[in-house]
């Protein structure tokens, strides 16, 4: 079984973001970067599938400037066999442009399964896998929380409001991965050492037309200072009145 996982390098989210002077991007000063969380689940799920099958290999693909090699190397040190960087100066916001480049790379790769995180945790569009599925003419199962491959067929569970949805599909196919499927392993020392000897191929990204751009970014307005009305039961009538008349939420 040959699996490709498309991964994205994203900033770690536990910081207060600033907007760059252009007003169209996040200020990247001092940010730490890592593999997008859902992509990490996808890499882990792919590795577990090949380990369970006892055969096959996992490749990872990432699009962007040379800094994405750091993220690709992390995947290699987790156990992935090969990495491919689709090189471009900046990552466009338009999923069609990205999906076109990914589809061109994946088209003749002979993959049984192509995996994505269900969305990147920075852009949070969750669209790229749909673009790739459409361009390659493959079935897509979005946001899987369980995934099994057996006898050349796949089955997956999707979490829906109030329950689950079980689906089956033929291979080759595309699946995107939700949280809960597998906690990503952390690289071992052996993994890190082995990664240095694994192939990391660099090719120019064949981006599609960019039809969507960010015009401006803005931070949420600062919260107004709170007001202490009083303490205990004596404050309740005034609080209720304010919620009704001033905040108008009751």
């Amino acid at each position: 079984m040959k699996i490709a996982v498309c991964i994205k390098r994203v900033p770690e989210m536990d910081v207060t973001f600033k907007i760059a002077p252009t007003g169209k991007a996040v200020d990247e000063t001092g940010l730490k970067w890592d593999m997008s969380d859902f992509d990490g689940y996808a890499v882990e799920a792919a590795l577990q599938l090949t380990e369970k099958a006892g055969t096959g290999e996992v490749h990872v693909i990432s699009l962007g400037p040379d800094v994405v090699q750091e993220t690709l190397r992390k995947a290699l040190s987790m156990g992935v066999a090969k990495a491919v960087q689709l090189k471009c100066d900046t990552v466009p916001f338009d999923a069609y442009a990205i999906g076109t480049a990914l589809a061109a790379e994946l088209k003749d790769g002979g993959y049984d399964l192509i995996m994505f995180g269900k969305m990147s945790i920075d852009g949070a569009n969750g669209v790229t896998q749909f673009v790739v599925a459409e361009l390659l003419g493959l079935p897509l199962v979005h946001a899987c929380s369980k995934l099994e491959i057996a006898d050349g067929k796949g089955s997956a569970r999707r979490e829906i409001e109030g329950g689950g949805e079980l689906v089956s599909f033929a291979l080759p196919a595309i699946v995107s991965i939700d949280e809960g499927i597998a906690r990503p392993r952390y690289p071992s020392l052996k993994g890190i050492m082995a990664a240095k000897r694994k192939p990391l191929e660099v090719r120019p990204a064949q981006l599609g037309e960019v039809r969507l751009t960010i015009e401006t970014m803005e931070l949420p307005p600062p919260r107004a200072a709170g007001r202490i009305i009083g303490e205990g039961a004596a404050a309740v009538p005034e609080l209720v009145a304010l919620l009704q008349n001033e905040a108008k939420v009751l």
Partner: protein
């Protein structure tokens, strides 16, 4: 705010992976281990399984084949995480004696097993009740009888014996009065531990200030096969000495990890704790000791990297290794005091972890080598003054 360690982004792969390996072992874990006076078995197993404790074993034997600089970063990050390397660091450097002086058969038999974690080599029996740092006066004897050495004597402060499969043992094979140099006549042996207590080794645990499993050992006609002698008979002391620089540098890195941990904790608390309507860190009496400790940690860190660089380049590094250990142990202790003082009474509460780390980092002033012995080394070997003892 960026990491207070400006080199935290160097060797990022190793640092991040070690941090990830340590992350599941949180404050609650270490408090439980301490409360139960237990050995952190799950923690050591996790680090071993990920290969971190085999960092210095060459790749041909299944280890990581890392440089000493990289290995030191592993121990630094373990201590920085709030853990203490004492439970496992010996696995990393004791095997150096076996690696450098063991026979091909010994290396082939033991190193892959140590690298995989199937075999734990974490104990080194050198210190004795009556000899201390004056190792040439070692009284434990190993007398050859046919294909065995028969060991008799006593050792003390021998750690992790109950959690190791193998132990290195230093014993006198030629009486002191029969050697031309005092350092001759000592030999190093590999001792199989699992059934040792039924063969003449008595282990008496010593309750102590930190949760380090340490013991007194009594050898009574304890037999060691001849094939377990490492290197040449009588040269064991030189084998021990040539591992000292690596040990000093690795211990210095542990102190650096502690130093950053204490400084980070102190500056955060100083910024959060409000007394008299302002954060206590606004008071110079609180702020300056933390800043001064941080300056010393940073300076010691530079010496640690310099010593490690020289070691990795196969250049003499005795002075730098000793200086690094001295400066780092002093810096972590200064940072510990600043951190405890900043936290006031809360620093003594177990749930803050500071009192535990405080006790643990105090140990570096004494073990594995006391600060005074390093000063005497610097005085005599670096500055050319007369031997002081």
């Amino acid at each position: 705010m960026p990491d207070i360690n400006p080199r935290a982004s160097e060797h990022a792969e190793i640092r991040e992976a070690v941090r990830a390996a340590c992350a599941p072992f949180d404050s609650a874990y270490w408090q439980r281990i301490e409360r139960e006076s237990a050995y952190p078995d799950e923690f050591v197993r996790a680090l071993t399984a990920a290969g971190w404790l085999a960092a210095l074993i060459p790749e041909e034997f299944g280890g990581g084949g890392l440089s000493l600089t990289e290995a030191s970063i592993i121990l630094e990050e373990i201590n920085r995480s709030g853990a203490n390397s004492g439970a496992c660091h010996a696995q990393m450097y004791i095997m150096g004696t076996l690696l450098r002086h063991g026979s091909p058969a010994q290396k082939a038999r033991y190193l892959p097993a140590i690298a995989s974690g199937a075999c734990r080599l974490q104990s080194f029996a050198v210190t004795e009740p009556a000899t201390g740092t004056d190792t040439t006066r070692t009284r434990t004897t190993a007398v050859r009888r046919g294909d065995r050495y028969v060991v008799n004597g006593q050792k003390v402060w021998i750690s992790r014996v109950q959690h190791s499969d193998l132990m290195l043992l230093l014993a006198r094979t030629t009486p002191l009065e029969q050697v031309t140099k005092r350092s001759h006549g000592l030999s190093v042996f590999l001792v199989d531990l699992p059934d040792a207590e039924s063969r003449g080794l008595r282990v008496r645990p010593i309750e102590n200030m930190v949760n380090h499993e340490t013991n007194e050992l009594f050898f009574d006609d304890f037999e060691v096969p001849v094939e377990n002698l490492i290197g040449e008979e009588g040269l064991g002391f030189t084998y021990i000495l040539d591992g000292m620089n690596a040990e000093r540098i690795l211990i210095a890195a542990e102190c650096i990890g502690d130093g950053y941990w204490f400084t980070d904790r102190a500056r955060r608390y100083a910024g959060e704790r409000v007394v008299f309507d302002r954060p206590i860190g606004q008071n110079q009496g609180i702020q300056f000791p933390i800043a001064q400790a941080y300056a010393h940690v940073r300076a010691a860190d530079l010496m640690r990297y310099e010593a490690a660089r020289l070691f990795d380049d196969s250049q003499p590094c005795g002075a730098e290794a000793n200086l690094a250990k001295l400066l780092a142990a002093d810096a972590s202790w200064q940072a510990a005091n600043a951190c405890l003082q900043t936290h006031g009474g809360f620093g003594f509460a177990v749930e803050y972890d500071i009192e535990r780390k405080f006790r643990e980092t105090r140990l570096y002033q004494v073990a594995p080598v006391s600060t005074n012995m390093i000063l005497s080394y610097i005085g005599e070997h670096v500055l050319g003054m007369p031997r002081s003892f």
